[in-house]
Structure formats: structure tokens, C-alpha cells
Assembly symmetry: C2
Homo-oligomer: 299 residues x 2
């Protein structure tokens, strides 16, 4: 045994593991996401831990994300809102694997008469962001976590109170493969700024989504727009509409905390800025690690 602890975020698209010693990351590795695991998940996890640590051993492993989903490593249940960090971190799902004490964090769920909301992994980042900046534990705060299924998380005095899921990231990925953009090759990683701005303007002008999407195609046919323009236009339209929909549900505060990868977070910040809302960025990895550290691996 030694002082190395392992923390992990096992999401749908990838497994990330960090080896920690005295609160410092000393090694990291990536493995297959839960959706790509074909062997029993335990086997994939063993292999990733081995590639992280080599001959070394660890006494403990704390995981969040889809590891705890039904059909994941082991089902870890949900904590219902409102929930504090202490209530969430206490009593994760615990078991032993090859002598390691493994803990899988609960997800968080919100229920109302006409909505069911669930998340796994994002709560770790929200609570982690609060630990990185204690000011975020006071009063009302809104967090946005852009991604495949974007979460907008409303907190109050350190509690997660409610949240809503934007299907925007997955929808954008589906639309990229559709006939809307079929005319052209996806040959540029650059975002067409004029296209993005036009999409945001469209999304802010009127609440149309279903009757707006086809414009990504018709403007290529009739207004000489490029596939890159259309792709950026779609991205702008969807983020602007998502933001407006959230605004109709949660009154948006003057400042929103954005947790995520920098490029996509920047796009959300741009749209929020047009609504006169400041975006404050928190690094996704730092937030994940800060959240994972509080999980009680040992009972």
C-alpha cells in the first residue's frame, strides 16, 4: 500500500483516471467510455488502472459519472434535489475490487409534476466548483455545463435546487450528419464567425427551432452560403434557443458560471454576453477533481 489515491470520471464517451499523491496529480490516463465498453466494465477498469499505475497499487478509487448508471459498473442511484455536497458525498456505492476500496458517487435527480431530470458527473463538477470558490456556496447561483447533454444547474446556499437538460450537443451532432449539411465536406475546424452570429441572431429574434433548421440548407442552395457557414449558423441557433428556453424557466442572474471545455464554453459565454449576462469560467478538470476528492471512499 502507498499514498496514491485514484480519482476517476467514467462518462459515456471516455474514462479519465487521475493518480493523486498529497493532493497533486502525479499521473493520468484515458480509457474507453461506458458506451464503448464491450468486455465486463470491471475488466476495462482494471486495465486502465494498470496502465495508470503500472506496478504500483492504490488503496482507493473514487468514481463519478456513468460508472454508476444502470448497465454501468454498478448502479449507484440518485440523490434527490435539494441536495448539499455533504449529503451527496456521504454513502456512495462502495465495494472492493482486487483489494481496492471503490466508491461510485450518486447521480442527482430532480422531479416535478411535469419533468424528470437526471445527471451523473455534472453534480461532481458543480460541487467541485463550489469547493474551489467558497463564494459560490452563498446565495443563488446558476451553473451551465455545455456538452452532449448540457446541464443548467440552479443552486442556492450550496444546495443543488433544480436543473434542466439541453439536448443541444447531441442534436448538433445528429444534424451535422443529416441532409441539412449534406452538400459539403466538413473540412475546416474553424468556426465561421459570421455564420455563428447569424444563427444567434435568428435564435434571439424568434422562438422557431423546427421551422428554422431547414434554413441551414436553403441558404446554401439560394444564398451562396458554405457548409462551414451553415454548420456555424446551426451551432449559434441552437445555443441561442437553448439559452432562451432556460431563461423562460429559470430567471437568468447577472452572472453565470460556465464549467467546460474552453471552445464550447466560449460559445455559450458569447450568447450569454448578448443577453448582458457575464460568464465566469471554471476549468472542468479542476472542478471534477475537487468534487471527486470529497467522496467518502471509506465508510
Amino acid at each position: 500500500m502507498n499514498d496514491i489515491r485514484v480519482l476517476g470520471d467514467w462518462g459515456t464517451t471516455r474514462l479519465r483516471l487521475w493518480a493523486m499523491a498529497h493532493c497533486e496529480v502525479i499521473a493520468r490516463c484515458e480509457g474507453p467510455g461506458m458506451a464503448a465498453v464491450t468486455a465486463p466494465p470491471e475488466e476495462a477498469l482494471r486495465e486502465s488502472v494498470r496502465s495508470l499505475l503500472g506496478e504500483r497499487r492504490t488503496p482507493s478509487l473514487a468514481l463519478c459519472g456513468m460508472a454508476g448508471a444502470r448497465g454501468g459498473l454498478r448502479e449507484a442511484g440518485y440523490r434527490e434535489t435539494p441536495v448539499t455536497i455533504a449529503e451527496w458525498a456521504r454513502e456512495p456505492l462502495r465495494f472492493t475490487l482486487d483489494g481496492m476500496a471503490v466508491a461510485i458517487a450518486a447521480g442527482v435527480a430532480a422531479r416535478s409534476p411535469d419533468r424528470e431530470e437526471v445527471m451523473r458527473g455534472e453534480e461532481t463538477q458543480v460541487f467541485g466548483a463550489m469547493r474551489l470558490d467558497q463564494a459560490l456556496m452563498q446565495g443563488p447561483n446558476l451553473f451551465v455545463l455545455p456538452g452532449t447533454h448540457c446541464k443548467w444547474v440552479r443552486c442556492d446556499d450550496g444546495r443543488i435546487v433544480d436543473f434542466v437538460t439541453g439536448f443541444t450537443g447531441e442534436l448538433f451532432a445528429l444534424l451535422r450528419g443529416s441532409t441539412l449539411l449534406a452538400a459539403g465536406e466538413d473540412d475546416s475546424a474553424m468556426v465561421d464567425e459570421e455564420g455563428f452570429a447569424a444563427g444567434v441572431a435568428q435564435g434571439r429574434r424568434e422562438p422557431a427551432v423546427l421551422t428554422a433548421l431547414f434554413q441551414a440548407r436553403s441558404r446554401q442552395l439560394r444564398a451562396g452560403k458554405s457548409p462551414a457557414w451553415a454548420r456555424a449558423w446551426l451551432s449559434g441557433l441552437l445555443i441561442a434557443r437553448e439559452t432562451s428556453e432556460v431563461e423562460a424557466r429559470f430567471t437568468l442572474p447577472r452572472s453565470v458560471v460556465v464549467i467546460g471545455e474552453s471552445a464550447l464554453s466560449q460559445r455559450y459565454a458569447q450568447v450569454l454576453g448578448q443577453n448582458d449576462i457575464a460568464a465566469r469560467h471554471v476549468d472542468a478538470e479542476a472542478a471534477t477533481l475537487a468534487g471527486l476528492r470529497v467522496i467518502d471512499v471509506e465508510a
Copy 2:
């Protein structure tokens, strides 16, 4: 030569040909849609005409739909709105193929400062519906043509004045293959009526689309709903939202003409009915044939 004329609708997903003698359909056949054609389109057309007519010959072939698109059989351009049936039918794109006089109908386009709209094939059905019932040539009328790209077509005194495209059909198809419904097998052709009604209610209650879609998954996870329920819920949500978006653009009249396949048309009629709008059905094939008949194949 003989009295057989051939009419055809060559869309993205299929080619339909009808052999007509004295205004009666005497034979019909289906061939590959424009998206599935790998050989030169002329070759696919020749083969379908051969399978329709056998040893017989026809002097003329009138086509509508994607046959006239860029990258189709021959590009046939668009007529701009407002457009009457006479303006549309006059001077189609004409050429000769194996001794047949071929005419491809123009599509119709609508341009405004912030929208570009195009259609190919639906205008044939709208004009055809007017020929089947002359009353539809008087005053304002709204037509809806449900499908992959649903068209809502506003007419006035026999002119197509404006229209809007709902991306609803293609979006529904994309979402069926997404993680929203990934939990279950698509093993039933029956629509879950309670799911459809719940989706329509959701779509009528609030303008959310992007922040509503994930409910199709979370209600399976947390409210015991089946994949069939979720599928029907999505269908109801999307049709209700599309209808509301169109309502915000075109004031919906007391009665709407629905042209299309019966099952999907029935769903649109159901949603329109909840808005106290009567739906009047026109058979899609009858409308297509009535529209194709007026195309001037010979100059």
C-alpha cells in the same frame, strides 16, 4: 407511338411512375429515390420506364420533385412566389430522352430578408389539390404536407404566396436513432396513444424544444415509461411545436388542407383539432397526378 403518357414524382427516397391512358392510371411502378441512385440518373429512369411499360412506348414523360434539383436528372430551377398554377406549369425544363419528350417541373422558392424557402414536388400536390377542388382556388387557404421536410403552404386566390419548412420528420428519424431512445427496441408499429397525447400536451404548454427532448429519456429512467411511449411522446411534442411555430408565422385559418399519407396526416389533424382547427384531407397520390397532368410537356 400510342396514347400512353407517363407521369412521375422523383423524390429523395423513391421514384414513382404512373402510366396514364385517357386520364386513367393503367400501370404504376416504383424505383430508387434520387438519394439512392448510383448510376447516371438517366439509366435509373430508363430502367423504371421499361419496367412500367414493358414493350410499349410513350411519347411523353412529366416529372416533378428532386428530379429537377442540382445533382438530379437535370436542374429545373425555381419559380418565385407568388406563383399561379399556369405560371408554374408553363415552360418546364424540356429535353428528349430515347425519343420521349421529357419535362421536369420547376420547384417553387420564397425569399424574404431573413428566410429562404425551397420546395420540389409539394407545389405539384398543392396545385393538384386546387384542380381537384376549385373551391381551394378562392381566397386564402393553408395547406400542410407532412413528411421528411414538412411544408406549410399559404395560398391566396390560387397563388402560392409563401411557405415554411418544418424539419420535423427528419428530426424525428434522427432522434429515433439517438441515445434518447437507446434504451429499448423498436418492436411495435403501434403508436402509444397516451405517449402521443402527453407529448402534444407538453408542446402546447410551453415553447421548449431543446430543453424538452431529454424528457424522452429521463421518463424512461425515472417514470417507468417504455421506449414505445417515449417514441410517441417525441412525435407528439415535435408536431405540436411545429404547429405552434407555424401559427406564430401564419395566422392559422379555421380549416387546413392536409395532403399526405394517412397515418402521419392523421397525427397532424389530431394536433390541429386541439387548436380548434379542422383538417381536410386530400389524397397525396390524387393531388400529385392532378398537378403533373397540367405540366406542358410539349412547347
